[in-house]
Symmetry: C2
Subunit: 338 residues, 2 copies
């Protein structure tokens, strides 16, 4: 992509995006301006070609290429807004890519961003961003949310006796990633797309959960309104993220394999083991705790209860036994008691 | 930087950052939460090693390395908030770097981000972000501002008869960049730091304006309060950005070389030609228009007047003659009449 072409590229990308409802000033001035009804919620996350995604699996060589990648970029950031109990109102997107990147890929990413906003958080849209060049495709998204008068639901509010509940796909995305690496990659781990169509047909739920997840965004506000005592987005594996919530709240989460099996053992036609549920990763569902007796918002299933815990003791129990949290920890293994 | 070390790295980076006044929830949960007093202003900008900065000039091999880079990241984004007439309240920062990046560089970037916020926009601070790995150093910043009941000052409000005014350094940063390329780079353009100390001593104003600019952030609110009719951050060269403001407002900006020379011919001991003022780049000053007779906020100097213009006619006049806008256009040359 030559510099002289970039203005045209930007026009084509912007043409894929519909305005955010809250935007008083959209892209084109120095900054965007949004009207909010309460406190601002903000989160940033970055996806880099290689460590975070592989273009071969996001259809870089097909029509409609990039759509899934844009969808996932939006969905994962929206999920961090939902996890506070807020309504997502806007995204900013900084994209950098090699100069020879086809404009169709950037248009596809923009279409995916826009479609995910409309499907998962109607009214939300891309309000700003920038476009640059870099050796690999790099996408940094900042998501903005509006508390609309509700109080943010933190990780630190779970109390002994609370119900532990989960909403969204659980374990499917990790299964999808394992299938992609075993059946759509060379022996050296390089992703290819030769078998992608076949895999999508055979395992539609787990492949879609990995490439274009559907987090339960609207349940974030529903949980806050229902009085959730603590909540977080599960992205690094349920047991690892639940341990973080337990640590932040000073409690232990006692999970029940029978409840997990009953609620999540079969997800859209694919069976998922309890082990996969506990250690998967990239689920982007909501883990929340509610005072005992609370009617859970529709979409949540109870998976355990909160217990008191001393510092340094196990944060996660499975069927009454200590469970070593495992998952994908971008900052290394969680130290014992941390 | 190994994965097992990244949690420690993040702790060391976060230790450099002081909280933002508006933050009710800071880094550590799914999202940050900020209390605002008016509409939200948001902007994103990315700097990538190579096209946007060279580590050799930001002291990668010295103690205190990275400080200037962090400062510039904050300053340039804060300037886009100021250009709307808003008060900056927070930054999110997504950093990605090669695995062998010294942690001292990341700490230095964090110190620079924090210092720029405190110096330029007291109360503003880093409220979130993430850290990842990539082949080159990549920094995507989103800045957040609060209109606090004022109306945003757009590019599109300039009227014939208005005063054209500018505040901040003008042309210095472009001169600094040219000096760095001519005296601190190999013949193939690769930056080196062997002569950097000498250059800083000989040309302190222009080298500092390029590496660690000091935008007049507080003048953004002052302009809005004084009734500025249009305003923008000048980052790609005064003539090019003024042409954009003229285009957005449907007017021409008639600049006066005698006014420019009188106000900006000598800046902190370095002389700057009118040509350098008009075509420099990376100034990050504020270009604003005010109704005739308005007392300009202290720090602004009149540099011309707004004239009516037909579409397709020159947007910029210098001493009454059409002036072809030139500068650094990331999206290619501005087409005539565009």
């Amino acid at each position: 992509m030559g510099e002289a072409k970039e203005r045209g590229v930007l026009r084509r990308v912007l043409a894929q995006l519909r305005p955010a409802t809250a935007a008083k000033v959209g892209p084109g001035d120095d900054s965007a301006v949004l009207a909010l009804g309460g406190d601002l919620v903000v989160t940033s996350d970055t996806m880099i070609e290689g460590p975070d995604f592989r273009l071969a699996w996001h259809g870089a060589d097909e029509a409609g290429c990039g759509f899934d990648l844009g969808w996932k970029l939006a969905a994962t950031n929206l999920s961090d807004i939902a996890a506070m109990g807020a309504v997502p109102v806007g995204l900013t997107v900084s994209l950098a890519c090699p100069k020879d990147t086809p404009v169709e890929l950037l248009e596809g990413i923009a279409r995916g961003l826009d479609a995910a906003c409309r499907a998962l958080a109607p009214g939300c849209g891309v309000v700003g961003g920038d476009l640059g060049t870099s050796p690999v495709l790099f996408a940094a998204v900042t998501a903005l949310g509006d508390m609309r008068g509700l109080s943010p639901v933190l990780r630190s509010g779970a109390k002994a006796g609370d119900t532990v509940a989960y909403a969204g796909d659980l374990g499917l995305a990790g299964i999808g990633l394992a299938r992609l690496f075993s059946e759509a990659a060379e022996s050296d781990g390089t992703a290819h797309s030769r078998t992608l169509g076949l895999l999508r047909e055979r395992y539609p739920a787990s492949i879609a959960a990995q490439l274009a997840p559907i987090p339960p965004i609207a349940l974030g506000v529903a949980s806050a309104a229902a009085g959730a005592t603590a909540m977080m987005d599960v992205s690094d594996g349920l047991s690892l993220d639940a341990a973080r919530l337990g640590e932040a709240s000073g409690v232990a989460l006692a999970l029940d394999s029978a409840l997990l099996e009953a609620a999540f053992g079969m997800q859209r036609g694919e069976s998922v083991t309890v082990a996969a549920m506990l250690t998967g990763g990239e689920d982007h569902g909501l883990l929340a705790t509610f005072a005992s007796g609370t009617t859970l918002p529709s979409g949540f299933s109870q998976i355990g209860t909160v217990q008191s815990a001393d510092p340094g003791r196990a944060r996660i129990l499975l069927d009454g036994q200590p469970f070593e949290p495992r998952g994908w920890d971008p900052y290394g293994v969680l130290p014992p008691g941390a």
